[in-house]
């Protein structure tokens, strides 16, 4: 399953870069995330609770492994999420480009879906992934605007996340 798109945020690439890799921001913006911890400079682990309609939200353990990191330009994520309904696995590439005063984020993910979700949920996979992507982007956009509005260096997360 290919999930791709682009979104323009106000703010510099550096500012957006920091937000994208801030585990607290990920926890707040990725739909259903209950916990997200940076366990290593290039690795995140956490828990998500995802449900749609009548489908009871089920817990997924998630890990995200970063690779090919070139700040503030691009990075690749190896995503692995597993839960009661099955799993999703794949790679996502994120690219940031300056666009005037803002930043254009382009992303492309190739995700494998397996287990029960694939077996009986194929009808909804496209819609659910579009929905979660949109929700994630909207939350991220709110977060960006919130940070810009406060413009207070103290509001940044304690772990600015500079990578080797």
């Amino acid at each position: 399953m290919i999930v791709q798109g682009e979104y323009t945020f106000p703010g510099t690439r550096e500012a957006i870069w920091e937000l994208l890799l801030d585990p607290a921001v990920i926890a707040r913006t990725m739909p259903g995330t209950e916990e997200m911890v940076r366990v290593a400079p290039d690795r995140y682990e956490g828990r998500m609770r995802v449900g749609v309609g009548a489908i009871t939200a089920a817990e997924f353990t998630v890990s995200v492994q970063l690779a090919d990191v070139v700040p503030p330009e691009r990075y690749t994520m190896q995503i692995d999420g597993r839960g009661r309904f099955g799993f999703t696995r794949g790679t996502a590439q994120v690219r940031l480009a300056a666009d005037g005063a803002g930043t254009v984020m382009r992303f492309e993910a190739d995700l494998q879906v397996g287990g029960k979700i694939a077996a009986v949920g194929q009808r909804l996979l496209d819609s659910v992934s579009k929905l979660m992507t949109r929700q994630g982007l909207e939350s991220l956009s709110k977060e960006v605007n919130r940070r810009l509005a406060s413009a207070d260096p103290g509001s940044r997360s304690p772990n600015p996340g500079s990578l080797p």
Binding site: R84, F87, Q112, G114, A118, A119, V120, R123
Partner: protein
């Protein structure tokens, strides 16, 4: 002997029981203390199995036992290789068979990882959620060509690659024929199939009686006797200690002849270990992964023809997806290879296939068993050749039919029964004539189609012919017994999954013994009743078991006449059998009821002459020297809506030749049912396996079976060319309806779209037609 019942439309004797809910199916078996099983199945298509932690499951109240591969100890072993490959020169064959529970590696989604036994299926499924599995995923092998590329991940590490087999059969000299050809038609064909989707899923109930030391297994198998023999060997029991009962079964269609499925092997073992009966009933979702299916073949085929449409030769190179294991050998691709030749004279043939291991469930025969693929390739090549030569598509077929005096015709290549593919009898011209007449071919092409086209409608006709190899050996047996009550009991080793054996076998006996079929009780599928035989497959029930039943009845008749002539004091030639009694010709008051004769044949005291057998009972076996060749023609008219790409089938005609017909209603039912499956294969059903080996449609929401609204009533005609290979002259019919339907559908849709696209793949769907029409695919 009368011929009153042969060919008669006797209403099915088993239907009252079935329709009033009094038939025993495996899930009806309910024993005191019975426990229920559920299997944890892999979500991953390919991976290293690091651990399966069942501790929490074991602690759940209501759970009696949980086993993983490690817990099976010595009992864990790969299943037997069931079907050895035929002795083809230069054959490459790598055997890899399924295991009861995965160990070290998982090789397909749905592969069993653990067995839970609990007080109910509800609790057992709760316990499945308690189990924690650690799998390190590996790249899945799914694309057939990529699987053969160097560096591809390997389904079985011990093998050098993913080649399960490679086999080449040839006759004559295709290269020379090609050189002489007026035209060579070459295309790539993709033919996919799907699940059998029987209305009843699989199930196994096992009970061990420690006092009598007997194991009873109810199993939805098409092969109860081989299952009994195999289980006895695996469990260290004598064959007589094991009874396997295949009760009423809601459809087999092939996957239930796959043997020694993990569940079949483990449930009896669990019952013996626990000392309590254990039941496992497969649910529909499991069926998509846990029961075998058929899948894709990719053919690069070419046809060399002369200017007048005569076939000079065929060359075919194809890939066959065998799944993660190949216990069933090469039955399917050999069938494809052989069935491609069809009813045609093909002087030069060069066919080679490669069977490929993939990370998907095992492929074993499903109604048609690979014949579909061969028929599709040949019929499409002929259609394309006809188009290029400007010939009528019926004419090109007629020109190449084997003539009626060509039989027996040896094609010089090996069939699935290891014997040379030899057609016993056939007369293909009349079958085509009848189909052409029934579908109104000439009138449709000259008048109806042009008129409808002028009105803006897109209608098309498809007409194809085919051969079906049926009735193969090795053998079956039957015992016929006249009971003191006067009714007759027939026992045979085959099972029944809806073919009407209870009626057709009774008809065969009725003619021989002069009684009404309702007085003949037929028992199938119980190893305690009859312990020799192989099973129901390859359209062989009527041919092989039927002839055994017939022969056994004839032997009983001889005994009846001998004893009756002694008792009545007349020559056997003066006696006849009618209405359940023996009568003296011309002396209506002198008769003996068969039941009374049976009592006389079993004295409690006194002496008998040496060599006398008690009762009126006989057992007979029948084994044909080789399979026979049934044939037929399918024709259909379709209409395509070019806006929505929907296709509606307007008419469907089948002309079928299965030799001697025992019960026309049963034959028609088989054909109608087969056509429904063929239509499903052509336009509705497809198992959508993604590139990672995940099944995207494991339910009937998304795996589409055609309904009564999608399948027309088949207009049926028969021709009869009896088989010289068995006394009844019968040929099989079980799979006939399913085999050529997709080939006819492809031709009809192409015709409806006036050749705008070439249909080189199956299945089609409105979505797929939309794609093809968009890109106007042409070579």
């Amino acid at each position: 002997m009368s011929a009153r019942w042969l060919g008669e439309r006797v209403p099915r004797l088993e239907d009252t029981k079935l329709l009033t809910g009094r038939a025993l199916f495996t899930d009806d078996v309910d024993l005191p203390g019975m426990l229920h099983a559920a299997f944890l199945r892999s979500d991953d298509a390919h991976g290293v199995l690091r651990s399966v932690d069942v501790e929490a499951a074991r602690r759940r109240p209501g759970v009696v036992a949980v086993w993983t591969a490690a817990d099976l100890g010595e009992y864990w072993k790969p299943g037997p290789a069931l079907v050895p490959p035929p002795p083809i020169a230069g054959l490459v064959f790598n055997s890899a068979t399924q295991v009861p529970l995965a160990r070290e590696k998982v090789r397909h989604v749905g592969e069993p990882l653990a067995l839970v036994v609990a007080v109910s299926r509800y609790v057992a499924e709760d316990a499945l959620d308690d189990i924690v599995v650690d799998v390190e995923p590996l790249l899945a092998v799914t694309d057939l060509e990529a699987a053969l590329a160097p560096g591809a991940p390997r389904v079985h590490e011990a093998l050098g690659g993913n080649v399960a087999a490679r086999a080449r059969q040839s006759k004559g000299d295709y290269a020379a024929a090609r050189g002489r050809a007026h035209k060579v038609i070459a295309r790539r064909f993709r033919y996919d199939r799907g699940a059998a989707a029987a209305i009843e899923n699989r199930g196994v109930v096992a009970a061990w009686d420690a006092k009598t030391e007997e194991l009873t297994v109810w199993d939805t198998t098409q092969a109860p006797i081989p299952i009994r023999n195999g289980l006895a060997a695996m469990l260290g029991l004598g064959e007589s200690q094991v009874r396997v009962v295949a009760p009423f079964i809601g459809g087999g269609f092939g996957p239930k002849i796959m043997m020694f499925y993990p569940e079949e092997v483990l449930i009896p073992w669990a019952a013996m270990r626990l000392g309590r009966p254990v039941k496992w009933i497969e649910d529909r979702q499991e069926n998509f992964y846990a029961t075998t299916q058929e899948r894709l073949q990719i053919h690069d085929a070419e046809l060399a023809v002369a200017k007048d449409g005569t076939i000079l030769g065929v060359k075919d190179r194809f890939l066959f997806d065998t799944g993660a294991y190949d216990p069933y050998g090469l039955t399917i691709p050999i069938n494809s290879q052989c069935t491609l030749l069809g009813p045609y004279a093909v002087p030069n043939y060069d066919s080679e296939f490669t069977a490929v291991f993939t990370n998907r469930p095992i492929v074993t025969p499903v109604r048609g068993a690979g014949r579909q693929h061969g028929v599709f390739v040949m019929e499409r090549l002929l259609d394309l050749a006809a188009k290029e030569l400007g010939m009528d598509r019926v004419e090109i077929r007629r020109r190449n039919f084997l003539p009626p005096d060509a039989f027996p015709h040896d094609h010089q290549i090996l069939f699935q029964d290891f014997a040379p593919l030899t057609y016993d009898s056939g007369d293909y011209g009349p079958a085509m004539d009848r189909a052409v007449d029934a579908i109104g071919y000439e009138r449709f092409l000259r008048e109806e189609q042009p008129a409808l086209r002028r009105a803006g409608r897109h209608v098309g006709l498809g007409i194809v012919s085919y051969i079906e190899g049926t009735g193969i050996g090795p053998y079956e047996g039957a015992r016929v017994t006249i009971e003191p009550s006067g009714s007759v009991r027939v026992a045979t080793g085959v099972g029944t999954q809806g073919q009407g054996h209870f009626t057709t076998f009774a008809q065969l006996v009725s003619d021989v013994l002069g009684m009404d079929p309702s007085k003949v009780q037929v028992i199938t599928g119980d190893t305690r009743e009859f312990g020799w035989g192989t099973g129901t497959f390859a359209s062989r029930g009527a041919v092989v078991a039927g002839n055994a039943v017939h022969e056994a009845a004839i032997r009983v008749r001889k005994k009846v006449l001998k004893l009756a002539s002694e008792v009545l004091g007349v020559d056997a030639g003066e006696l006849f059998l009618e209405c359940g009694s023996v009568h003296v010709k011309g002396a209506p008051e002198r008769s003996l009821r068969l039941g009374d004769l049976a009592r006389k044949a079993n004295p409690l005291r006194g002496g008998v002459a040496p060599g006398t057998e008690p009762g009126l009972e006989a057992t007979a076996y029948f084994g044909p020297e080789r399979g026979n060749a049934a044939n037929g023609v399918h024709a259909m008219i379709v209409e395509v809506d070019p806006e929505t790409c929907e296709v509606r089938i307007r008419r469907y005609v089948v002309v079928h030749d299965c030799g001697t017909v025992i019960n026309p209603t049963v034959v028609e039912g088989q054909v109608q049912g087969g056509v429904a499956m063929g239509i499903g294969n052509a336009f509705y059903e497809q198992l959508v396996w993604d590139e990672n080996g995940q099944l995207m449609n494991a339910s009937f929401m998304d795996y589409l079976l055609p309904t009564a609204l999608d399948v027309p009533a088949v207009e049926m005609r028969h021709t009869v060319t009896p088989s010289p290979l068995n006394p009844l002259g019968a040929k099989g019919v079980g799979e006939a309806g399913a085999i050529p339907a997709a080939a006819a559908f492809a031709q009809a849709v192409e015709d409806a779209l006036e050749g705008e696209i070439e249909v080189l793949e199956i299945p089609l769907s409105p979505n797929r037609l939309f794609d093809l029409l968009g890109s106007r695919s042409r070579p």
